[in-house]
């Protein structure tokens, strides 16, 4: 078969040029061993930033996980002691439980609700831009401000409890009960994330051919049927992406729980998540940096495993 590419004539090397090699030399392999400088120079600023702010802290955390390092006291190598201690640390298991629960609670909502919202605001009708912006507003709001507003709303004497009391239900301890606190924090995460994932879905929905919907409608499919047979398959890969992104974010949750449950992680620390535990254990003048690093390594491994799991599930579906 003939190559579709035109043949390229390379100039013959003049025997008089300095690059002329003596018999037996291996110029090709030498070129291979040496990388050109220019691309690296272009990439250098970015690589430097990545090296200093990502690679170095990452490697440092890995190393510290095997030491008994404290904030002000350099550590010594302790092997797997930190990981052994984790197995017997009740607070670690509490943190793991809460992080997993958070993910289980938040991810389905963040995969489905933004899709429904995107379908709602996808249509080009007058005034729809206002709603698109309104749904996106929580995304750009500061998490601290959002957290504080929700704390005021859900407080024992807040607006929500005032309404519940007025309709005869009575006050609910959203911020004092361990499970309600976790649920409240999940609600804030979902509320704040809706707009972000909605935008991703809007982009995906724009690529779904209108003809598919028209054909399905002609075949007698109703709105619900079209949603499951046309829309969902068309945006499935986006749903996988949203699931991957939101599960990693949910597993690493910190701000929402910290703001609503307090620095101690709720009553008796029962709402502590793994990242909160890292912060609480490893910071301050008496912080146990080595132990906190070990928890970080566990968080990292679980996060990578999650990503691989989601990608594998996606690949299986494709196959």
């Amino acid at each position: 078969m003939t190559s579709p590419l035109p043949s390229v004539k390379t100039p013959a090397t003049s025997p008089a040029t300095p690059s002329a090699k003596p018999p037996g030399a291996r110029p090709v392999s030498r070129v291979r061993r040496q990388l050109p400088t220019s691309p690296w120079l272009f990439a250098a600023p970015g690589l430097l930033v990545v090296g200093i702010f990502i690679l170095y802290p990452f490697v440092s955390t890995l190393v510290n996980a095997f030491t008994d390092r404290r904030t002000l006291i350099p550590g010594t190598f302790v092997g797997l002691d930190n990981f052994r201690e984790l197995l017997h640390d009740d607070m670690f298991w509490t943190g793991l439980r809460n992080s997993v629960l958070y993910m289980v609670g938040v991810v389905p909502a963040l995969v489905l609700l933004p899709l429904l919202l995107a379908l709602l605001v996808q249509k080009n009708i007058p005034g729809i831009t206002f709603f698109r912006s309104a749904f996106y507003t929580p995304v750009v709001a500061s998490i601290v401000v959002v957290g504080l507003i929700w704390v005021w709303l859900l407080d024992e004497r807040g607006l929500v409890n005032a309404v519940l009391e007025a309709v005869g239900i009575g006050r609910v301890g959203f911020l004092s009960d361990q499970w309600l606190l976790l649920l409240s924090a999940m609600a804030v995460t979902v509320w704040k994330g809706l707009g972000y994932y909605m935008i991703i879905y809007l982009a995906a929905l724009a690529n779904v051919p209108r003809e598919l919907h028209e054909a399905a409608a002609v075949d007698g499919a109703g709105a619900v049927r079209r949603f499951f047979t046309v829309t969902v398959p068309a945006v499935r890969s986006t749903m996988v992406l949203v699931a991957a992104l939101s599960s990693v974010a949910a597993f690493k949750v910190f701000s929402e729980v910290y703001l609503m449950a307090g620095p101690n992680g709720g009553p008796a620390g029962e709402d502590t998540t793994l990242v909160m535990l890292v912060q609480r254990t490893g910071t301050g003048l008496t912080g146990r940096v080595g132990y906190a690093s070990a928890i970080s390594v566990v968080v990292f491994v679980i996060t990578v495993a999650l990503m691989l799991l989601v990608l594998r599930a996606d690949r299986k579906e494709d196959a």
Partner: protein
């Protein structure tokens, strides 16, 4: 020049090995304590959330010092209150700790153990007698010789109560509780009469509360905690009764000092500890509450109220030791503490200052009444919080107390577990 793979491999190896170099490098414990010599050079002074309200005072202080000691230059930096300990730990770990640092005793302890706080008993022993003995001792660390910071200002405060809420509950608003028993009885009545809508207290007991109640906090050697004795269990049992009756706010388990202050301002809580500083806040933010505010003494079973101590520490690795020590002393000497006390509701830690007419003569105002009462109680006050009680230990105690209040553990088991956890952390501190 082409970049070889070897160079890239070397860069990767450095990234891996550099963090390893931090292991076992050890601190430089060779810092000298000699602070003699000419007072000169540039030093940095760090305060804790003071610039917003006291900039002119500190600008003047720095200017006067530089004038008194020509050749010195003081750079004043101020850090926000939130995350101050984290800022200091980052500076200490990074070798950028300022020369003179505003600290509290619990911050001094780990810095002293890491060899970063100058021992004033060696570097400046002559100044010790200028301060109240209790205040000077507040920066001494169990298990270590020496004093590691100049005492600066002290604070203590009364217990504020809402007279309206007391009256509504059928209590005599002119007779606030003076003992723990009276406090618990009144609190239960307030909760009962308000059908659980008004709590009397909004904070779970802290280490300071156990101390004030009369529980021993540490053993005599300072090598282990002891607040799980009969008195400690008794206090926690009483708090459990209050919690069950909603006389202790249901959100107390997750409360912060800010949130409890707000609850008192809005009339959701009947009593709250505070200081003379809070009176101004009540006047401004809650005028109706201010009209009905009652002021009573801190409740204590030991006869000694709690005091908070601020200190000024000298970085042992400062290159300008004479100037740093001189400035730390200058900030905390009797004259300057007195000047500062007249600008804000704090109390000097220098000997004799509390006998000044400013702290002894009434002028009829509430502020002065609170100030004089506080100054009087400070003469035999105690800083109940052990200097070795770290943030992690506070968390352990708070979690155990919460478990007891929720009924997940008995008060005795909860305190035993808290002591065990705190002892383990103490041993890990070294």
């Amino acid at each position: 020049m082409p970049t070889s793979r070897r160079a890239l491999a070397a860069a990767a190896a450095i990234a891996v090995l550099l963090p390893l170099s931090a292991c076992g490098s050890g601190g430089d414990d060779s810092a000298s304590t000699d602070a003699s010599g000419k007072i000169e050079g540039n030093i940095t002074f760090q305060t804790w959330n003071l610039r917003a309200n006291f900039k002119p005072y500190f600008d003047g202080l720095v200017k006067d010092f530089e004038k008194k000691y020509p050749g010195t230059h003081v750079k004043w930096i101020d850090q926000p209150g939130e995350g101050y300990a984290d800022k200091i730990s980052a500076d200490a770990a990074g070798g950028t700790l300022p020369d003179v640092v505003n600290v509290s005793p619990d911050l001094v302890a780990p810095l002293a153990k890491a060899g970063l706080a100058l021992d004033l008993d060696k570097a400046a022993p002559k100044y010790g007698k200028e301060y109240l003995p209790g205040a000077w001792a507040s920066h001494q660390i169990p298990g270590m010789d020496g004093t590691y910071a100049f005492p600066w200002y002290l604070n203590t405060g009364p217990l504020f109560y809402n007279k309206t809420l007391f009256r509504k509950a059928g209590l005599d608003d002119s007779k606030p509780p003076k003992t723990y028993d009276a406090l618990f009885t009144d609190a239960l009545q307030l909760a009962k009469k308000s059908k659980g809508k008004v709590a009397t207290l909004a904070n779970v007991p802290t280490i300071e509360d156990f101390g004030r109640y009369g529980a021993p906090l540490m053993n005599k050697q300072g090598t282990g905690f002891a607040f799980n004795d009969a008195k400690g269990v008794e206090l926690l049992t009483k708090y459990k009764e209050l919690y069950d009756a909603k006389a202790l706010d249901p959100q107390a388990l997750t409360a912060t000092p800010e949130s409890t202050g707000k609850k008192f301002l809005t009339g959701a809580v009947a009593m709250n500890p505070g200081s003379a500083l809070d009176l101004q806040k009540f006047k401004k933010d809650a005028p109706s509450l201010y009209k009905n505010i009652g002021i009573t003494d801190q409740i204590t079973s030991t006869g000694k109220v709690n005091m908070y101590v601020m200190g000024v520490m000298v970085n042992s690795r400062t290159k300008q030791k004479p100037a740093a020590v001189a400035f730390a002393h200058y900030v905390t000497d009797a004259q300057h503490q007195m000047e500062f006390a007249k600008k804000v509701a704090i109390f000097p830690s220098t000997a004799g200052s509390l006998d000044d007419p400013y702290f002894t003569q009434q002028d009829g105002s509430d502020e002065t009444r609170v100030r004089i009462a506080a100054a009087d109680s400070l003469k035999n006050a105690v800083n109940y919080t052990p200097v070795l009680f770290s943030e992690q230990m506070k968390n352990e105690l708070r979690n155990s107390v919460a478990k007891a209040l929720q009924g997940k553990e008995s008060p005795k088991t909860a305190l035993d577990n808290a002591v065990k956890a705190c002892d383990r952390l103490l041993q890990q501190q070294g």
